[in-house]
């Protein structure tokens, strides 16, 4: 017997089937002993529940009973929410404050670092702020930027020859 048939038999016992379905089930019960046994079992269980259920009688009237429940709900709603929370230690209170503050600070730092990096990237990478403290060099120096390689080249006509080189015969530089 499959589950669908079992559910149908349950519906039959509970009187939830249409007239035609009830007739089909009745025919089935006449020729299927297993189905008939299940229906019998279900009917017994149903009658046991129905007969065994205790009747509960309220000590007061129905209206008074529900009004008590309503008043209790209203009373709980009026209580402040904070009172329901357990008291926190000083460390727990600090944690509550510091953790979000730390997260905020970290995000701010990341943002600042990002902005700084962006600003640095946007700067002209090949710009050279050439300044000389030598008047002669000022007049005779030129700057060349190789944008492909990022190389900056500054050529000094001064010192004209041997400011960096040695004049010994054995040495060139």
């Amino acid at each position: 017997m499959n589950t669908e048939l079992q559910l149908k038999l349950q519906s039959y016992v509970d009187g939830e089937l249409s007239a035609s379905e009830s007739r089909q089930i009745a025919d089935l019960l006449a020729r299927d002993a297993e189905a008939a046994a299940l229906v019998q079992q279900l009917q017994n269980t149903k009658s046991a529940f129905a007969n065994g259920e205790l009747e509960v009688k309220l000590p007061e009237s129905r209206e008074f009973y529900w009004s008590k429940i309503s008043r209790e709900i209203e009373r709980e709603n009026r209580q402040p929410v904070a009172a329901a929370e357990p008291s926190l230690s000083l460390w727990q209170s600090l944690q509550r404050l510091l953790i979000p503050a730390g997260a905020f600070a970290a995000l701010t730092l990341i943002g600042l670092v990002g902005l700084f990096a962006l600003r640095t990237t946007n700067q002209d990478s090949f710009s050279v702020h050439y300044e000389s403290d030598n008047a002669v060099a000022d007049a005779d120096a030129f700057t060349y930027n190789d944008e492909e390689n990022g190389t900056t080249f500054i050529w000094f006509s001064y010192p004209s020859e041997n400011e960096f080189t040695e004049s010994d015969d054995s040495l060139i530089l």
Partner: protein, 153 residues
Amino acid sequence: MKFQPKSWRWAAAVVCGVCLFSFAASITRAAELKLEAVLIWGTNDTNSPDPNHKLVGPKLAKTLGDLPIKWKSYFVVEKKDFSVNQGATEKVRLSKECEIKVKNADGASVELQLIGKGKPVGKMTKDVNKGCLVTGGNAENFTSWFVVLRKKE
């Protein structure tokens, strides 16, 4: 899945920790610059009279070869590796007559001061993360000197 406030706090604490650690690490890394200064002699001769001179490497040869002033050969006269902390200045002697002062301005930009025969020749700044800084001038017998300052790789 039920939302657990405590787990959220722990996750936030971990994220904060990681962020602060990364930030501190980036600051530490940016503070010190490892640099290389090279004094080079440029000539049209294929050989140097000084047997200690060696030709520059291919990368430096290409850098120098791309400059508007060209020579057939570039010989390394002196090469010095050094580090400069942020805000500090390092003095590096490259030859008897050539000295440089390098200041780490902000962890990326350096201020290079050339000193020839004890006299300041020029001062320039450059972000060494973007490329190298090459300075040069005339030398004896129609040759040239170059000082290359670049970030040590």
